[in-house]
Every structure is written in structure tokens, then in C-alpha cells.
């Protein structure tokens, strides 16, 4: 009886804790930008950050190609550059694009 009661209270508490945490994450969806990760491709980053993909390709010195789905890690290997450098450069390009009005299709 005691064990059942304690287990029930733990389950109820867990429900509220996880529901609260889900709500907190959900509120952040609108405000927070998607982070750039090494597994992401340039078109993927362009889509999540609402910037034109050619602009990001140009920023890292790669010929824009819509079907180029290489990850940042793969690109860094091909360009013989460190992954963090490439990610930082893409982040700067995204930040610049976000503050620059553009007529280019996204």
C-alpha cells in the first residue's frame, strides 16, 4: 500500500516535471535560433536559418550547388580546414544575412 502510494506520487510528480520541461522547450522554439552543427549540410542550415544557400556556399568559398548535401565535417575535410573555423564562418554569414535585406530567393 505504502509502496503503491509512493510510486503513484512519483509518477504524478514526473508527469508535471516533464510536462513543464516540454512547455519550456516549446516556448524556446519561437525565440531561439537553430544551432549550427557539424552534421548539417549547407542547404539544411540555409533552410533552418532562412538564408539563401548560395550565400553560405560563397561565404566558405565553395561553388554553390543545390544538390550538394555534404555535411560541414565533410566539407571541412575536403577544404582541409578545421570544422570549428568553418562553423564560425557560416555563423558569421548567417548573422550578416539576417541583418541585410536581400532580394535573392531563399
Amino acid at each position: 500500500m505504502l509502496v503503491l502510494g509512493v510510486a503513484f506520487l512519483v509518477a504524478i510528480t514526473g508527469t508535471f516535471v516533464f510536462a513543464y520541461r516540454a512547455g519550456r522547450h516549446a516556448r524556446q522554439i519561437r525565440s531561439a535560433n537553430e544551432p549550427i552543427r557539424a552534421w548539417m549540410s549547407i542547404p539544411f542550415i540555409a533552410h533552418t536559418r532562412h538564408v539563401p544557400a548560395p550565400l553560405l556556399f560563397q561565404a566558405i568559398g565553395v561553388q554553390p550547388e543545390p544538390h550538394d548535401r555534404r555535411s560541414i565535417r565533410h566539407l571541412a575535410h575536403d577544404l582541409k580546414r578545421p570544422v570549428p573555423d568553418l562553423m564560425a564562418q557560416l555563423q558569421r554569414a548567417v548573422d550578416t544575412a539576417a541583418h541585410t535585406p536581400s532580394d535573392q530567393p531563399r
Partner: protein, 198 residues
């Protein structure tokens, strides 16, 4: 490891997804929810076909689940114990078998997508408990297609917020699991109190 899997799915699409979900269904801990959400996002970007992605994810999962069931059924408890040691997870097989018997088909269905960490163990336990294969594959297929359709659709709708959606879904899954546990325990508590009062 997770980065490489996500890169592979991002670059090679549905075939890579098929292989990764099949491996995960056998019991290897991989970020399948995130992979499905990413695949959904790629559908929204026009880089993948929705039906191919749902088909590949479902087929891969069902194949992996069948492998788990077969290991349990024909390899017996010794094979399952060895497998659980490989993946660094000690498992109380008699307890999982008892759960598999008690939950039956709906248990198989829910552990495909809602309580997915239990899925591989339910596969093995269903095999060792000689749960009828036809019923297993019916509930398994139903659950896997449901799960793939839900997570891929979420990724498609929130295609520019995949990481955030993965975090939300992780918490929602635990909240639902805790709620289910609360309902079951509450029912048992109520039944106990009624018996005590009678």
C-alpha cells in the same frame, strides 16, 4: 557517432535511414527520434520523398524488430543475456517477459514509438516467451508505421526547428510515460482501497 549518422542520413537519404533504424531496432542506442525529425525536415526542403522516407524508416525498424524477435525465439535466454552484455545493459529478462505477456499486442504497439527505449527488449522477450509471430508482426508493423509517420510529420511541419523539436518530443514522451504509469498505479491504488474498505 551521432554526428556521423546524421550526416549519413542527410547525405544519402532513405537508404541510410533504413540501415540506421534497423540497427537501432536490434538494441543499439541511437538517436532515432532526431533522425526521423531530420528526415522530415529534408522532406520539407524537397531533398527527400515523404513516402520513401516513411517506407524506409518503417521497413528498417520492422526488419530490426524481427531480428530481435528471432534472436529471442531461437537463441533463447542465453543469446539475449549475451546481447544485453554487448550493449552494456543488464536486463531483467524474466521481468520484461512478464511485461510482454501482460501488455500483449498494445504493449508491442506502444513500445514501437511512445515507449521506444523498451522496444528492443520487448522484441527479445516476445521471442523468448514464444509470443505468436503473426500477432507480433501485426502490432509491430502498426506501431512502426505510426511512429515513423508521426516523427517524420513533426519534422516536416517544424522543418526549421529540428533540434528544438527533438528536445520537446523527448520531454513529451517521458511526460506521457509518467502519466500512463500514474493512471495504472492510481487504478491499482483505488482497487486496493476499495478491497480494504469492503
Amino acid at each position: 557517432m551521432n554526428d556521423q549518422l546524421l550526416s549519413a542520413v542527410s547525405q544519402y537519404g532513405a537508404p541510410a535511414l533504413f540501415v540506421v533504424v534497423a540497427i537501432a531496432a536490434v538494441g543499439v542506442p541511437l538517436p532515432i527520434t532526431l533522425l526521423l525529425i531530420v528526415a522530415g525536415s529534408m522532406v520539407a526542403q524537397g531533398a527527400m520523398n515523404l513516402w520513401w522516407v516513411i517506407g524506409a524508416a518503417s521497413a528498417g525498424s520492422i526488419l530490426g524488430d524481427q531480428a530481435g524477435y528471432a534472436i529471442g525465439r531461437w537463441g533463447g535466454r542465453a543469446a539475449v543475456t549475451k546481447l544485453s552484455r554487448w550493449f552494456g545493459k543488464g536486463v531483467d529478462l524474466p521481468a520484461v517477459e512478464a511485461k510482454a505477456r501482460a501488455w500483449g499486442g498494445p504493449g508491442i504497439f506502444l513500445t514501437r514509438w511512445l515507449l521506444s527505449p523498451l522496444g528492443p527488449w520487448i522484441n527479445l522477450a516476445s521471442g523468448t516467451a514464444s509470443y505468436p509471430w503473426r500477432q507480433f508482426i501485426f502490432w509491430d508493423s502498426l506501431g512502426e508505421v505510426t511512429g515513423a509517420a508521426i516523427y517524420i510529420s513533426v519534422g516536416r511541419i517544424f522543418s526549421d526547428r529540428v533540434m528544438a523539436m527533438d528536445a520537446v518530443l523527448g520531454e513529451v514522451t517521458w511526460a506521457i510515460a509518467a502519466l500512463l504509469a500514474a493512471v495504472i498505479l492510481g487504478y491499482q491504488l483505488l482497487a486496493y482501497l476499495r478491497r480494504a474498505a469492503a
